[in-house]
Symmetry: C2
Subunit: 243 residues, 2 copies
Amino acid sequence: MRILSETSRDGVREQLFVLDEIPGVLWTPDGAAGTRPLVVLGHGGGRHKRAPEIVDRARRLVTGYGFAVAAADVPNHGDRPLDETYDRIAAENQARVAAGEELAPLLARFQALVARQTVPEWRAVVSAVQRLGHVGEGPVGYWGVSLGCGLGVPFVAAEPRVRAAVLGLGGVTASGQDAARITVPVEFLVQWDDERVPRDQCLALFDAFGSAEKSLRAHPGRHADLPPFEQETTAAFLARHLT
Amino acid sequence: MRILSETSRDGVREQLFVLDEIPGVLWTPDGAAGTRPLVVLGHGGGRHKRAPEIVDRARRLVTGYGFAVAAADVPNHGDRPLDETYDRIAAENQARVAAGEELAPLLARFQALVARQTVPEWRAVVSAVQRLGHVGEGPVGYWGVSLGCGLGVPFVAAEPRVRAAVLGLGGVTASGQDAARITVPVEFLVQWDDERVPRDQCLALFDAFGSAEKSLRAHPGRHADLPPFEQETTAAFLARHLT
């Protein structure tokens, strides 16, 4: 792992790093030393590790709770080079949806393919940042919706260091089998009028989680309309389980 | 309004009162003076104004947020005398359910009848306690599930002083029309395996609320299995809207 740059603003230290081929970012409290909980953020489709909503969420978790927060670019996003295989499949899927094919199963197969790469990548990121003195081997949480749910479900299922996860805006077609292997507390976000993921598929994914403690939170609005106050309630959920 | 008794424990002052024929209780912070938000708690069926879960919730709202909290016995509950009409209808309904009739419509009609009495009673309680110097005319919130939802929905719909409401464990059959008249923020609780209220009726009641801001929170488990951590999240919701 190589630190590329380091900046600080309003009490939050931001370190850009690269681990093998993975561009990532780590946020911690200014002057932090010693072990603390780590939250991994998964960004949405077409977004990246430093998209404004990711930075906002990270800063809130750092300043409000003293957590460390890490995010990595998903292949074909942010600072990563174009991956021709993924790019070709995405273009094919767009054409098939335009021709009338159903989106959910295409998306599910695509996300499962990408997850075969991102699950080991994100696990490596956790190991690398936890070797830093100001992160340490504390409890790990995960927050990711939409693409961050499609890739997050297999990650949380595979990674025993994760103790709690916020997921959502995703359907059972994409992640049902992995969801059944998740047993940590889950907060699951649903947009009641989601135009991308049918409501019944969202509810079925909530059903599929193996967790004894799971909460579904639904709000009116479309896929991208997650209300801002969810920032606070999901942060409080993570804090309850990581501290 | 007549104060019957007053006690204090761990920073919370509890005043039992009677307003006309309505036995009620008011909790406030010890030594409080001046205006503060008021939360009305509606108790569940077969419970009463000082049932342990009501007292717990009231104390949490008082100690955590400095709110005033009031609850009144529903007719035929707690310290109220037997009402022969209600008692007869309840007994008839039990017999009809035992004979195979569907519970929800019977319950809906019964709760609508009781609400014709409790809505004006609860509005009178709000007016009376808000005349006290240590309550004052601050914003009002409501918290009630199960019977507290069946009676709470018409109360919140009728009472413009209510600015936010936690409701749940209730179905659209009982309260759909009143729900459409509610426009304040609502947090709506659903038990995913509710054996008393079918899930689709719960989801339809959530749909029916006229509120622009509404959140559905669902958890695995039966009607009575509301998880203890909901105490905190719903209190935070009320605090967000009343302070």
